[in-house]
């Protein structure tokens, strides 16, 4: 690793830590319904929303009503998004005249965006109309994020309230999250991104003449756009002279801003934030990367503020940082080391003032190693899943870092809302074990952790685990599953394991060599994303309901403090050990075996 790698990493996490504070406190005010400074502008809009939608603002919901609202709202989102993709050909704002998206892909994409996963089996610039992108995909970028945050806020209320039956009103939480948090941030972010060169236009794709024309052999296509095969089954090649280039356009900046802020990650273009129009400069890269972890980090502060003990939020944030930062360095170290195969071929992989060096396959020159690996770690720690480099081409150890971060359960920052409620589930498990160790019925934030909470917490951890493992097992045992694998050897296994971790963890990034746009992966992926999202949200809300009913136990000397370094270390131990133990065998057959082959 170079000094600059370290400096960039430190500055990135430093900026994140600094910004998390004020944003977190602001969000606490938003969710507590306190004046937050934007009421003058957004208040009327908020009230209009309640009036139009027939929402009674003061009505409280119990956990079952809250969960029902989340589910119905999400279901409606899935239907609308599916519908929009299927009929986009007949709708306006489609300058490239894209036809309907196939049913399987529409199903997968709809679930993918509503579950805040944003797994992309499509290529934005060749499949989605501007209208689908902005009024379909980008809308779910807002709403799935707002729903995740709402569920978190409901859980926080569970800790905070006592002897209460209700945990808030989903419509109010969702609306306030969207209006007061996501929209203003996205507005500022969009314009900053446009200033760096991210496109924002409704114009047609432009075509320009190339400076130097090229001659290529390309597969001949039949009328249906499929490659023509010869007798041996090889594609028939034909000579082609390429003299022009298409410059794709679209309302990208407005969508990229929210895809980063809302830990969605679904790119406007196929290669996501590696595309120069999504992420043109080092500054845009810094901004977007910051956006990935900004709200998840700030929510820790929000949590501390709302439960009335800032240290509680800081402790969780500390645990997140302490797991992520070393892994970020590990990833950078692995990538900066370069590919030993290339070293023996006379390729210069050493970092210098003139080149980043390292393993540059699948990375952009303007980002080099540091910006790529920080992003890779951040986007998988958060369940964002946008990429600015191709994880599939990472060194085995470098690629294991993002995979492991997903497998930790998407709780190291995690998705907006979903990450912290996942983290709180781990905190509950930690409190349980640690509480027993100090000889008391475990309590967290004054709430006794009892049978019901343990049941739900165990369920959450179990579900995500089961989905990843069973999904991978099915995929590697079936022709349909193995057909999509692009790379040979253990790396192929890594591709599948990564994909299912990403589905179940609602991350959305991929070892993108895997061809996911097949009936098999579209279907199983859609199902896994659904369960990975809602089978977690429901138990979480159930815990919220159960906690809200409990009495508040005042803390004493015998109470295990949950804001101390010791607790942070214990919490990290539980996350790492549960994650590592559950996935070590799989990783051994993938990245670990591949890495050891070098030695």
């Amino acid at each position: 690793m170079t000094g600059n790698d370290i400096l960039q990493t430190v500055l990135y996490f430093g900026a994140l830590a600094v910004l998390a504070g004020p944003l977190g406190l602001y969000m606490a005010r938003v969710y507590e319904g306190a004046p937050c400074g934007l009421d003058g502008v957004l208040g009327p809009l908020e009230r209009l929303f309640y009036r139009v939608c027939g929402i009674r603002q003061d009505e409280e919901m119990d956990w079952k009503q809250y969960a029902t609202a989340v589910l119905i709202f999400s279901a409606a989102g899935v239907f609308l998004l599916y519908f929009l993709q299927r009929v986009q050909g007949a709708l306006p704002l489609n300058p490239q005249k894209f036809g309907a998206v196939t049913p399987g892909l529409s199903f997968n994409t709809a679930l993918s965006f509503v579950t805040n996963t944003n797994w992309q089996n499509y290529s934005g610039e060749t499949a989605m109309s501007y209208l689908t992108q902005m009024a379909g995909l980008a809308v779910q970028n807002f709403l799935s994020a707002a729903a995740g945050m709402a569920a978190l806020v409901a859980l926080i209320r569970g800790f905070k309230r006592h002897s209460a039956n209700t945990i808030g009103n989903f419509w109010v939480d969702m609306a306030r999250g969207t209006l007061y948090i996501l929209m203003p941030l996205a507005l500022v972010y969009s314009l900053l991104l446009v200033s760096q060169g991210v496109v924002q236009s409704f114009g047609k794709y432009r075509t320009v003449d190339l400076v130097e024309a090229g001659n290529y052999e390309i597969p001949r296509l039949d009328a249906g756009g499929n490659a023509v095969k010869d007798a041996n089954g090889d594609p028939v090649m034909e000579k082609a002279k390429v003299t022009r280039q298409v410059i794709p356009l679209g309302p990208a900046a407005s969508q990229i801003a929210i895809k980063q802020l809302g830990t969605n990650g679904g790119g406007f273009f196929n290669v996501n934030s590696a595309h120069p129009f999504e992420n043109p400069t080092a500054f845009s890269n810094f901004l977007e990367c910051l956006a990935i972890l900004l709200i998840p980090a700030a929510l820790c502060i929000t949590f501390g503020k709302m439960v009335g003990d800032r240290r509680q939020g800081l402790a969780l944030l500390a645990a997140m940082f302490l797991i992520l930062v070393p892994l970020t360095f590990l990833c950078a170290w692995a990538e900066q080391g370069g590919n030993p195969h290339l070293a023996s071929m006379g390729v210069d992989q050493a970092a210098s003032a003139l080149q980043p060096g390292g393993n540059m396959e699948g990375k952009e020159a303007r980002f080099g190693i540091a910006d790529s690996t920080i992003w890779a770690a951040a986007t998988t720690a958060a369940s964002n899943g946008s990429v600015n480099s191709m994880h599939d081409s990472y060194m085995p150890l470098g690629g294991m870092v993002p995979m492991l971060l997903i497998q930790f359960g998407e709780v190291i920052f995690g998705g907006v809302g979903s990450g912290l409620y996942g983290m709180l589930i781990f905190a509950i498990i930690t409190v349980f074990v640690a509480g027993l160790m100090v000889g008391r019925t475990p309590e967290y934030l004054g709430k006794k952790i009892e049978i019901f909470e343990m049941k739900m917490a165990a369920l959450v951890v179990l579900i995500v685990n089961a989905l990843i493992k069973l999904g991978t097992a099915i995929a590697v045992s079936t022709k349909a599953g193995t057909a999509g694998i692009a790379n040979p050897g253990p790396h192929g296994f890594s591709e599948v394991l990564y994909a299912f971790s990403s589905f179940a963890g609602n991350n959305g990034s991929a070892f993108a060599g895997l061809n996911g746009n097949t009936v098999f992966y579209n279907t199983i992926g859609g199902i896994l994303m659904f369960f990975g999202r809602f089978w977690v949200i429901i138990p979480v809300l159930a815990i919220a309901g159960s906690l809200a009913k409990k009495k508040q136990v005042p803390a004493g000397l015998g109470t295990l403090p949950t804001h101390t370094p010791l607790f942070v270390v214990f919490l990290m131990g539980v996350i790492v050990i549960v994650g590592a133990l559950a996935f070590m065998p799989g990783l051994a057959l993938g990245p670990i075996a591949e890495q050891l082959m070098y030695h």
């Binding site: 000889g439 493992k469 192929g492 296994f493 004493g556 403090p561 051994a588």
Partner: protein
């Protein structure tokens, strides 16, 4: 015969023999399924046994028959070890129960037709008695059934229950009216109204509790069970999916063979938390057993566990915080009176006073002024005993009339004789009261000589215990009938956090409810009938065995020693129980890391030889690596049985410190120990050519 004095060594041969037999009987799957972790191990044992038979018969097993057999045998041993741990814990209780059962002989009871001694007596077997029957118990009789004395007074030997051989007095009315079936009346007679039906007596319940027959899982235990079951399912998924993973990897690598079922089962058993799973019920039973060793009978396992959670401890002042009796500590003479004269008069007046207070005055006078004790008869003195009318006691000696008593009583006395009560004495009296002590005024005829200060004596070491409690986060509240002034002074001296002065049953109940409304768990001790409502309200209620039936019914723990400070010990046992579970869970999970390093390279090295690098313990062969891990996993259960039975050492420290210590010992220790253990076993196996 004394139940209490049976202090058993951990591995008493008789118990071990019985436990060994029991552990085989517990292989019954119907029994095992109650413990999901061990049920999985047993299923694995059966599976590997079948694989062994298959390999043996067909000669085409997935691995060598010898290897499968060894794994299978060790898996069975793992189950047996866990069963043995449980049986050991139960065995200790059973031995106790046997001793108790011996006392529950069927005796012939003398049933009375009317609740009066002279009514007609019918001889009936004790098992034929019903609740509400009235029986006569005379010297030499065994009390046939639990009951309440309604007439008479007798000395009773209760050693069968309490282990205490000194006889106790049981009499009708008041707080000492309860008698327990199986105890022996030594002298006199009593008429007892039976308060329990056969099979529901105190003795029956006690036997039930020790035997674990009625042991229900406590909430924390269930929650832990859920966590362990969750982990078990995760590891089940890990190992089950490893088969398709490895089949795929064989294809991808173009070499090697998929992992065998035997190795998968071995891996599964090593990963699931067998250590805690195998010892969990033993820990619970042993916790109950430790209560019994402390001579406390828990009426439910829940009560034991709740004891660990107690936030507030209500303690009676007298007998718990202070010695039952006050002691003279100072003489303050009236103006113009020599202090020595006061001491002399005070001693004279107390010579015949056999109350502890009186004795302490004699002793103080001797210690401070060298006034020797005199023989009251040799002096020709006439002792005037304390009476409710005068509220004074004293002595008439050669015309001198010395009296001592409460200030107002003495004041009345001197005024009647034409004397006055000096202002200086009044001030001293008030001062003493303010200090939390009791003033006793001494007068001779019409003149007041001075005041003797009687102090509550705080029990030795109690202040330190309270400091420990504070460390543990437990608030102590002193309950006393004293006025607030006195109470505050005693409370300060004893180091309790708070006090309730001029306590009545109502105020006690109110105090408990207030704390509970604040989310706190309250523990208290009590013995009298008027304690019953408070006992019933408290979360942890320790009734004194000497107490009334009502108190015992209301409490969820009964202290056979009737020692009010026992509550502190009970809290510690409760905490120890939870801690043992927590630490062994942590230990169990930490162990898995080393097991991965043993088994994973062994399982996959044929597919990816590079994975041999993970064999950081340098175990000799893949077979010995798997076998060593399995053997370690089994042996660790046996090694930890003493810990499970004795409980983790408890020190009264803050939660933070306790967690740090335990995390270091059982968490970090749990990471390291198996690396060493597995390596040693591997070396042994290799030396013995077992694999």
């Amino acid at each position: 015969m004394s139940a209490k004095k049976i202090k058993r060594s951990l591995f008493e041969p008789k118990i071990v023999r019985r436990a060994l037999l029991d552990s085989v009987g517990k292989l019954n799957p119907v029994y095992q399924i109650k413990n999901p972790v061990m049920f999985v191990v047993e299923t694995g044992s059966v599976l590997t046994t079948l694989l062994f038979l298959h390999a043996l018969i067909t000669g085409r097993g997935e691995a060598s028959a010898v290897f499968i057999l060894q794994i299978s045998v060790w898996l069975w041993i793992t189950v047996l070890f866990a069963n043995f741990a449980e049986s050991m814990a139960e065995g200790r209780g059973k031995a106790q129960a046997d001793a108790l059962r011996k006392t529950r002989k069927d005796v012939v009871a003398k049933r009375l037709s009317k609740p009066a001694r002279d009514s007609g007596v019918t001889q009936v077997p004790s098992s034929g008695l019903k609740k509400g029957d009235v029986v006569l118990v005379e010297a030499g009789d065994i009390v046939p059934m639990d009951g309440e004395v309604i007439e008479g007074v007798a000395s009773v030997n209760e050693s069968a229950i309490t282990g205490e051989s000194a006889p106790v007095i049981r009499e009708s009315g008041g707080d000492r009216s309860a008698v327990t079936g199986g105890t022996l009346v030594l002298s006199d007679w009593i008429v007892v109204r039976v308060t329990a039906s056969p099979g529901e007596t105190f003795l029956d319940r006690m036997i039930g509790m020790v035997e674990g027959a009625k042991r229900q899982k406590t909430p924390n235990e269930i929650a832990l069970d859920i966590l362990l079951a969750g982990l078990t399912i995760i590891f089940l998924l890990v190992t089950a999916t490893l088969l398709p993973f490895s089949i795929f990897s064989v294809k991808a690598a173009g070499q090697g063979s998929p992992v065998t079922i035997t190795v998968l089962v071995a891996l599964l058993v090593c990963l699931i938390p067998t250590t805690i799973g195998g010892l969990l019920s033993a820990i619970g039973i042993a916790g109950m057993d430790r209560m019994i060793q402390a001579n406390v009978i828990a009426m439910s396992g829940r009560a034991v566990e709740a004891a660990g959670d107690v936030d507030v401890l209500l303690l009676d002042k007298t007998g718990t915080i202070t010695l039952g009796d006050r002691q003279a500590t100072l003489f303050i003479s009236a103006p113009g009176v020599d202090e020595k004269n006061l001491a002399d008069a005070a001693q004279l007046s107390s010579l015949a006073d056999e109350t502890p207070e009186g004795r302490s005055i004699v002793v103080l006078a001797k210690e401070k002024y060298g006034i020797r004790e005199r023989d009251i008869h040799a002096l020709g003195a006439q002792f005037v005993p304390f009476s409710a009318q005068t509220r004074m006691s004293g002595v008439d000696l050669n015309g001198r009339q010395i009296r001592k008593g409460a200030a107002d009583a003495v004041e009345k006395y001197v005024q009647k004789q034409g004397g006055t009560f000096p202002a200086g004495v009044r001030a001293a009296v008030d001062d003493i009261a303010r200090q939390g002590a009791t003033p006793l005024v001494v007068a001779e005829g019409p003149s007041v000589l001075g005041v003797v200060r009687l102090n509550d004596i705080i029990k030795g070491g109690i202040k330190e215990r309270f400091a420990e409690m504070r460390q543990m986060g437990i608030k102590t509240v002193m309950i006393t009938g004293d006025n607030p002034l006195t109470a505050a002074a005693v409370a300060a001296e004893a180091g309790v956090d708070d006090f309730l002065a001029q306590a009545t049953p109502e105020t006690k109940l109110k105090l408990i409810r207030e704390h509970q409304a604040g989310g706190r768990l309250v523990a208290m001790t009590g013995d009298g009938t008027n304690d019953a409502p408070a006992l019933a309200q408290a979360d942890v209620a320790v009734a004194m065995n000497t107490g009334t039936q009502a108190a015992k019914e209301a409490g969820n723990l009964v202290d056979l020693d009737s020692n009010p400070t026992k509550l502190i010990e009970i809290v510690e046992i409760g905490k120890q129980l939870l801690m043992t579970r927590g630490t062994l869970t942590t230990f169990s999970i930490s162990n898995d890391v080393a097991k991965y390093f043993a088994i994973l390279p062994a399982a996959f090295v044929s597919i990816y030889p590079a994975l041999g690098a993970l064999n950081i313990m340098r175990l000799s062969t893949p077979q010995s690596a798997v076998l060593s891990a399995v053997i370690f996993n089994a042996l660790i259960i046996i090694f930890l049985i003493p810990l499970a039975l004795r409980g983790v050492k408890y020190k009264p420290l803050g939660a933070q410190t306790v967690l740090r210590n335990n995390a270091l010992i059982y968490g970090v220790g749990g990471l390291i120990v198996p690396f060493i253990g597995i390596k040693l076993i591997d070396m042994l196996i290799t030396a013995l050519h077992m694999a």
